[in-house]
Amino acid sequence: MSNETNGKSGYLVEVEDLKQHFPIRTGFTKTTLLKAVDGVSFKIRPGETLGLVGESGCGKTTVGRTLLRLYEPTDGRIFFEGNEVTKSNMREYRKEMQMVFQDPYSSLDPRMTVEDIIGEPLDVHKLYSTKSERRDKILGLMSLVGLNAEHATRYVHEFSGGQRQRIGIARALAVDPKFIVCDEPVSALDVSIQAQVVNMFEDLQKQLGVAYLFIAHDLLIVHHISDKIAVMYLGRMVEMADADELMDNPMHPYTQSLLSAVPIPDPETARKQKRIILEGDVPSPLNMPSGCAFRTRCRYATERCSAECPPFTDRGNGHMVACWEK
């Protein structure tokens, strides 16, 4: 974990103990801290995909945005290729790290043509010398993500959700980044189109060698695309392992319950598996339980769970779990 070795570690992106606490007004003068992300660490290798799953509101988007310093982190450090990314040098990394947003509607400016949306990063970083070079690059990006070049001068409201998401991906790819945060890029799309777009993400990764932080709440999609999967609950990571390992051998009770809710194509295994239904609601992030945040809904919870927060420890082969009982 020491920083001296980071340069040689071979990781593209490293996040250490990232925290994002939002001050929320709870009274006329009182503010409470909403701990949207509370100590998250992970590492991603070049060309690799880390899947990030969790219920909505558990802080996945906030992790992605804080990682790109769209929000100033409350605490924690971010490294890119071994160098610390700070507020002052973030601008250099805007070309290396990009983001694809969840909402294909609000993430594209309705006043702009497709051409200008995809061209915006080119303009900002001055990645062309002539107008025709700009257009060639834009048309190249459009065909890369499967958009018809004839639509370059159209406005986004003429496109479907799937096409819009492709425009957003083309915009992210315009600066030729090494790392893209994909914030639930398919959640807003029809199921039939989801597969297409996910496949496109895979193809692009093969072609361009980009690494992804792929956020989703659908475990099947995440398993399909990810090398490693991390599971979040209320701002903390509860489990992280290689994708297959996590699916075959989930250790944290929360991961187990998530997996039991995934529909299984094979009826034989489906019959054997019992659904674990979680009791109660997700606690309010403004009023988090003491100790382990999951204990209020956990079948195995003991007194120790409420007294102390379980550490995130390696259980062999890089399978990290934060639980006292497992």
Binding site: Q98, S107, D109, S143, A149, E150, R171, Q196, N199
Partner: protein, 357 residues
């Protein structure tokens, strides 16, 4: 499913084979070259849609006709708005309350005598023997000018105030918006009447030549608008900027590394511009209406300067015998207000893609 799956792959490969498309691409490129500049693209796009809207086009025609008439008429019509009609250099006291296109006795005698044709009184004359058409023309000039300048005043103050409040956010926004709330909660007609009474006394004491030539009432109308009516615009602009700021495309622009200046220029301004233009277009008739109302109750422009409201007010006295004197200014007000409102609606439909369909 399979065919849709292979679609993007084919496209991805076609990245390198664009040569086969070369012939086609030149055609396309020409078209794209045409619409390369983004601001004109959006403007032209909106104008095309506006021109397809029959109501908006009719409004534009009506407004152009009215504006054309009030510009040309004073040069063509040989009567003054405050002069009693003169025949042969002498005042014609018989030209009182004439019907449209009628001549007074003296005028008819004069025409018989000299064979010269006098310019007709298109809308007749008023009770003080003045040509009514030219008075309505000047009244329209005054009303339109007041409407236009009041709206520009509202536009400037409202947009500045609203955008500062929206950008700054936090405590600044809070305080600025409470001030707006206070102004909003004042009963505006009462304040306008009180203010214009007070301002009239103050201003008539000054010797300022600009105020003198404008007329104190006009100045107080502007001050009243400047003080009271910008709040609506300010609220709207602030809300719009807050809404735009919360969109993910602003976040996307920041993720790209776009500096704030660029984000404001290429995302925030274009996105609230249409709201500002539309609101201004709708503000003009409301200002004209308020001015007419104030003039009607006698708080507006000073006699003998006519405005559409004061003309209507003057016509009340002879309403039984000469109803046309009320009809002309009233119809003009209706035409102007309606045309601006329909034009504003047309602009909204044309320039706001979110509201389209």
């Amino acid at each position: 499913m399979t065919e849709t799956n292979t679609m993007p792959k084919k496209k991805a490969l076609s990245l390198q084979v664009d040569l086969s498309k070369f012939e086609k691409a030149t055609d396309e490129e020409k078209r794209q070259q045409d619409v390369m500049s983004k601001s004109t693209t959006f403007f032209r796009d909106g104008m095309r849609k506006l021109m397809k809207n029959p109501l908006a086009v009719a409004s534009i025609i009506v407004l152009v006709l009215i504006i054309g008439t009030i510009t040309v008429a004073p040069a063509v019509v040989p009567y003054g708005y405050q002069d009693i009609i003169k025949v042969d250099g002498k005042r014609d006291k018989t030209a009182k309350n004439l019907e449209p296109f009628k001549y007074s006795k003296k005028e008819m005698k004069y025409m018989e005598k000299t064979g010269e044709k006098l310019f007709p009184h298109i809308m007749g004359t008023d009770s003080m023997c003045r040509d009514y058409f030219i008075r309505v023309v000047y009244g329209t000039r005054i009303s339109l000018t007041v409407g236009l300048f009041a709206s520009i005043l509202v536009l400037i103050i409202g947009v500045l105030y609203g955008s500062i409040s929206g950008y700054a956010g936090g405590i600044v926004d809070l305080i600025m918006m409470r001030i707006v709330d206070i102004i909003y909660s004042l009963p505006d007609m009462l304040i306008i009447i009180l203010l214009s009474v007070v301002l009239n006394e103050r201003l008539s004491a000054t010797q300022n030549p600009v105020i003198k030539s404008l007329g104190t009432n006009m100045v107080s109308i502007f001050i009243v608008f400047g003080l009271l009516y910008w709040v609506g615009m300010a609220r709207l602009v602030r809300g719009e900027i807050l809404k735009i700021k919360s969109n993910e495309y602003i976040l996307a622009a920041r993720a790209i590394g776009a500096p704030s200046g660029k984000i404001i220029r290429s995302h925030i301004i274009p996105n609230c511009l249409s709201v500002i233009i539309i609101t201004t277009a709708l503000q003009i008739p409301s200002a004209i209406f308020t001015e007419s109302f104030l003039s009607f109750v006698g708080m507006g422009v000073k006699a003998p300067m006519p405005s559409l409201g004061s003309l209507a007010n003057a016509a009340r006295e002879g309403l039984q015998s000469y109803p046309m004197q009320l009809v002309f200014p009233a119809v003009t007000i209706i035409l102007i207000v309606l045309a601006f409102n329909l034009l504003g609606d047309g602009l909204r439909d044309a320039f706001d893609p979110k509201l389209r369909r």
